[in-house]
């Protein structure tokens, strides 16, 4: 895997629309012939990244290198890559044949060669009998096949696919996933696929790029991403998981849900707060306590087709999700076991909220442009000075009514951590606040925010 094997290299790519930074310093290389997927929730910048590669938008900063040539400012019609658009974008005034032949005619390919290639492409996507049909007379799946044939007819080195399956129904989507994968094998060219569907990404890709808010979170094979997510976002986004607060006691020893566990991770330091991820299928559950690491009782058990989804309340009061082939009766006492290699330890992005505040007077600080009361500063700071303050996650008080808070914000992400919820609150001024709470909130709830004077700590 040398540099020669890279077909596309992306360096320090940034893009903003108005004052929204859609992409922030993206660095990435794509290997020849690989099936790479940009995965992330809507608004994470994955489509913008694809559009920059396709040439439909221009980056504010950074460069895109393809086959050793800088193509950052090359217009789309001169780039050796083709795109399959989200809503197919077939030309409604042309029939199937002319749609597929469109690019070839523009490139002055001789007529008999056009004939040959269009037929070959249509055959490859099993649409050979539809040459003379109008686009409007085709089903969604058929239109998608024509769109793929049209993009491949130009013999691109790279095929870009912008959520191509999102408009299809579930059954059709599964079929097309398999067909696309086969097509990729047959053509041997690079596929860059954009999706928000983690299952689709896991099934189809050689490499997955997980994105969030304009930044790459993790790049890796589907197994890497699933088994070793680098942070709670990736863990939560890809598949089901138990994400828990933990403390790294020492190398190879981590404490969570009130127990010490052996693990395989090193180098986190001693007594360091971390997050752990345990996949529901990695918790072994049994009807006896003999040989178990911890115990609990079953609170629910639902049949999911292949396995049962079981919720267990552990002896220390944490709720865990477990998947097992056997059902367990509600209320029964069960023993559980987690193997060291199934515990994925991750750094916490932060352990408390930290932000700048402006001193107003001895007992008041301006935080996020609002006035908060704080413990007397003891005359150490002058009015107008800037100090760094810290607020623990569980010391932020959320109110039902926006008016009851000093600040207000919107619940933008919720993570269940076994015994409490970890919320991301987006303040109206655009900053984020992390909150631990036992109360149940919904995504999108508007909340008032209060912080008690004693919980605002000056840290520098």
């Amino acid at each position: 895997m040398g540099k020669d094997n890279h077909i596309i290299e992306i360096n320090h790519l940034s893009k903003s629309y108005g004052d929204v930074d859609v992409l922030k310093d993206i660095n990435l290389y794509i290997n020849k012939g690989e099936f790479i997927t940009f995965l992330g929730p809507s608004g994470c910048g994955k489509t913008t990244l694809l559009r920059l590669i396709g040439g439909f938008a221009h980056p504010d900063e950074g460069s895109i290198i393809m086959d050793g040539k800088d193509i950052t400012t090359v217009p789309p019609h001169l780039r050796p890559l083709n795109t399959v658009f989200q809503k197919y974008a077939l030309f409604p005034h042309l029939d199937v044949y002319d749609n597929v032949a469109f690019g070839l005619k523009l490139n002055n390919v001789p007529q008999d060669e056009i004939d040959k290639r269009v037929r070959k492409m249509l055959k490859m996507v099993s649409m050979a009998d539809y040459e003379d049909r109008d686009i409007d007379s085709l089903s969604g799946g058929q239109q998608q096949r024509v769109a793929i044939a049209r993009a491949l007819a130009n013999m691109p080195k790279v095929l870009l696919l912008d959520e191509p399956l999102s408009a299809l129904d579930a059954k059709m989507r599964k079929d097309m996933q398999i067909e696309l994968k086969e097509l990729h094998k047959k053509m041997g060219i690079t596929f860059i696929f954009v999706t928000h569907d983690q299952e689709e990404a896991l099934t189809m890709s050689d490499t997955i790029v997980v994105m969030k808010e304009g930044r790459i979170q993790q790049i890796g094979t589907p197994t890497d991403i699933y088994n070793e997510p680098v942070n709670e976002f990736v863990a939560n986004f890809i598949g089901e998981s138990n994400i828990l607060d933990a403390t790294m006691i020492e190398d190879r020893k981590v404490n969570f849900i009130g127990h010490d566990f052996e693990c395989v991770d090193e180098g986190f330091g001693n007594d360091t707060p971390v997050d752990v991820v345990i996949r529901p299928e990695d918790i072994y559950i049994m009807n006896q306590l003999n040989g178990a690491q911890f115990s609990g009782h079953v609170t629910s058990c639902t049949f999911k087709g292949v396995f049962y989804e079981i919720f267990v309340q552990t002896d220390a009061g944490y709720e865990l999700m477990i998947q097992d082939y056997n059902p367990f009766e509600i209320g029964t006492e069960v023993g559980m076991l987690i193997k060291p290699q199934d515990i994925q330890v991750m750094h916490k992005s932060c352990t408390r909220n930290e932000m700048d505040a402006e001193v107003i007077d001895d007992t008041h600080l301006r935080i996020f442009s609002e006035e908060f009361e704080c413990k007397p500063l003891g005359g150490k700071y002058e009015a107008g000075a800037t100090v760094r303050v810290g607020v623990n996650f569980n010391k932020v008080d959320l109110q039902d009514n926006q008016e009851d808070g000093i600040l207000w914000g919107e619940v933008s992400n919720i993570l269940y951590k076994g015994d409490h919820y970890h919320l991301l609150i987006r303040i109206d001024t655009g900053e984020d606040l992390l909150v631990d709470t036992n109360d149940i909130w919904d995504k999108g709830d508007l909340v008032g925010i209060k912080i008690a004077p004693k919980d605002i700590k000056i840290i520098g």
Partner: protein, 270 residues
Amino acid sequence: MIRKFIAKAYIWILLVILYAPIALIAIFSFTESKVLGNWTGFSLGLYRNLANSGMDGGSSLLSAVENTLVIALAAAVFSTVLGTVAAIGMYYLRGGKRKVINFMNNIPMLNPDIITGVSLFLLFIFIHLTQGYVSVILAHITFCTPYVVLSVLPKMGQMNPNIYEAARDLGATQIQAMRKVVLPQLVPGMVSGFILAFTMSLDDFAVTFFTRGTIGLDTLSTYIYTDARKGGLTPELRPLMTLIFIAILILLIIINVREQKLAQKSELKK
């Protein structure tokens, strides 16, 4: 029963009131009397006069018809081109700018013709443009273009915004993508815009009256106006109006039938 009868009668009375004047002119085009309402026996004389006056080329009536058609055609062609280009540009404007331009596009349509006419008249004098054919056509383009914009803009909205990019992606330059992919989607809007512009220009009086200058250029509407002021309408106007009405009727029927067929075709596909 009675209610049904009344409802039906209402429609028929309305139609009669609407079409009676036209029917009257059509009927009296087949008699030679100078004054409308005086039946002097069936005759095709007026039609013959109309045709003959065309032959020797001297009739001011027929030259007015010719002027009207030439001006309408020129105005419709130019405003269709201008309006389509404007609509494409407006579609790609963002938020506020698009609203402003849209608003500005609506003003000329609501503006009373007389104001448009007078202001154009003053403008042409100000820039020393000789008033005649050119000034009338320019004036007509001015008030026809907004109608074309209004009929093309929705077609831009209905278009899949990705098809332009798809064309670029497949190797088309900007101009090729516009011509081969975007323009064909706009044709229905352009056709209805063209027809709208053509008819708007055909029956315009106020703007033409103020911008035609003093060289004696007459369109049908200004001809009738001066004719009526001279005392009594030329009898040959009656067959001419009948013919125009029939031509419009046929055109409308063709358009309707065509639309119905298109609708059926797209129904069948689904």
